[in-house]
Symmetry: C2
DNA sequence: AATCGCCCTCAAACCGCTTTGGATGCCGCA
DNA sequence: TGCGGCATCCAAAGCGGTTTGAGGGCGATT
């Protein structure tokens, strides 16, 4: 059932039917209702492919998921972000198209998306320092929103980010207030922008209290359970071991906890731990009482908001880039306590 | 730059250029090369929207991600599956379009995808018992592949699944061979098809050795750390506690491990644990030596294969449904050992 | 030299919708 | 009565490709 058939069934022209269905004013209300009813009755849905060609809009946004060719990790945060963004898209009748590409083919992918015209904009995931994608997208003129920011990039661009620096600064201060002095950082990979900002916040907080950051207490690796476990285990084995940890994610934190317990120590009493909690749906940080004290910011909500921003950018290209900085909340759980006296 | 422009630049008709680019035989090789070169030089990419309209094919497949309206959980397995499927799609120039929908709107979503014509087929995720989606898709005539199976469905359909029953049967036998008699099952939600099959395997193995399954040792809940922790904690607190656990996932298993350690017991010595390992990229089960003894099956590989199957189904609709059952491997880690003497 | 056949190329229809630019009819008003 | 104006509706031209059916050119065959 297509427009033409529907129109002839109604004894109207395709033009009028199209206008009736799309709410144009130059059609009699009675006619419109007749058309609407017939469309519903015959289960008519306009062919998306034709609409796209006729209007020139793709009614779709792209998410390019880079898969690191070296360590083949798919960011676990991704599923929840997508879920959030997806809600926005379905509300607005947009499609979400995913491209999973090796990270050395990202450039081609973006160019392709633009010139083949199958998306109206893209969301950029996991920005790195000096991320080249921003200049690239700027060049090819494809609307985009970055989830995160790219330190070192001078071009103005739209982004939505969590205040990672502030979050880790506050977390560090919280530990300092509890009397901790040897605080370890189990960070993500520090070519990722968010990881750099987190370290900055951590270092700033220490420095503000006159404590020199100790390289032996700072590690940087993938945010996996194993990596967290190993980093914590090594630090706990050292002569002057930390009394507190700052971990980059829930999963890292679980590794840290394992190392602590394996060392015969008790998390929360002997050793304090604060994690960053993305509030992933399958990785809840406890229920009424959080397991981990955490800086929390819902990545799903971030997905919703980033998608909103992108759709707005697509609809109103004029006003220029938008930015939005979300604050993480510091929630107190069972994993922190006063620094034990030596 | 579009076909017409390119054609006029070359002094050829659009027809010839189109044929040259698409490898049709009725065009001179010299001409073809000239066209190819010009296309590259002018960075010509055919407009996807036009191709889709002209050919009637969407060159896209849909993944409908149901988001449970009650417990808003996004399956963590999902990201890796998508990554695998995505590799197949990009190799074949297909797009992947995701629809994130509340699970009570799934039917409308599938109907919409079909009648609006924006996908050529779909992958069905997370089948439940008597899953109504299979009959629905059958009805509306949209090619599909189910990741998993739907017990109780009589229609023939295409699926790709892991032999969950066998995997859990083998795991149970392995524990029995180690002398364990009180083996607990920390299962996923048992309206999910895979969870039912796993329980069947577990029960079968016990029964085969003349052990009656003990309801007190069988739990079923979401596959989260918390749920695993709580189930294990409750069972460990009982008078006759289990000496071994079978956990539904890596994450559940981490909860089980926490409960074990919190009870002052040692995993692998006092209590054995076997998990099912989906081989998620961000959730590796150790490195050289696995942390957990596990039934392992890569969900990413499953994504690749399911996508292959679907594309084949789309290209060759004739032969009818395809099925493929993958066997999980049993890998031995540090979390299992002989049943301690009482 | 005429005919056949093959190779290459082209004009035009088509995919299903949107949108521009009229056309038609009816009303009110001067 | 005549005309402008408004409310409705329609024909046709795109959008940018693919594909059918036909034609021109040329060497080979008779």
């Amino acid at each position: 059932m297509n427009l033409k058939e529907l129109a002839s069934k109604l004894g109207l022209s395709p033009t009028t039917v199209s206008r009736a269905l799309n709410g144009y004013p130059e059609v009699n209300e009675a006619t419109r209702e007749r058309v609407m009813a017939a469309a519903k009755r015959h289960n008519y849905h306009p062919n998306t492919r034709a609409i796209r060609l006729a209007t020139g809009r793709a009614m779709a946004v792209g998410h390019v998921i880079p898969v690191a060719t070296r360590h083949e990790i798919v960011n676990p945060v991704f599923a929840d972000f997508i879920a959030g963004a997806g809600e926005t898209y379905s509300r607005n009748d947009y499609d979400m198209v995913l491209s999973v590409v090796p990270d050395d083919q990202e450039e081609d992918t973006y160019r392709g998306l633009k010139s083949k015209g199958n998306v109206d904009g893209v969301i950029v995931h996991a920005p790195k320092m000096h991320d080249p994608r921003i200049a690239l997208l700027h060049d090819i003129g494809l609307p985009f929103v970055v989830h995160g920011r790219a330190t070192g990039t001078t071009l103005p661009y739209s982004w939505l980010d969590v205040n990672n620096r502030r979050a880790f600064q506050r977390a560090t201060e919280f530990l300092l207030d509890l009397g901790h002095r040897r605080i370890a950082l189990v960070n993500g990979l520090e070519f990722m922008d968010f990881a750099i900002r987190r370290r900055t916040g951590y270092v700033d907080a220490l420095s503000a209290r006159g404590i020199a950051p100790d390289p032996a207490l700072m590690s940087s690796d993938e945010m996996t359970e194993i990596a967290g476990y190993r980093a914590a285990k090594a630090m706990l084995a050292a002569r002057a071991r930390p009394t507190a940890f700052l971990a980059a994610s829930m999963i890292s934190g679980m590794g840290v906890r394992r190392a602590i317990e394996e060392a015969g120590l008790s998390m929360g009493r002997d050793i304090s731990v604060i994690i960053h909690d993305d509030d992933l749906s399958y990785m809840k940080n406890g229920e009424d009482v959080p397991i981990f004290t955490a800086t929390r910011s819902s990545v799903r909500e971030a997905g919703r908001l980033a998608a909103d921003m992108l759709l707005d950018l697509i609809a109103h290209p004029g006003p220029g880039p938008q930015q939005r900085l979300l604050e993480a909340e510091l929630i107190i759980g069972q994993s922190t306590g006063p620094c034990p006296k030596p």
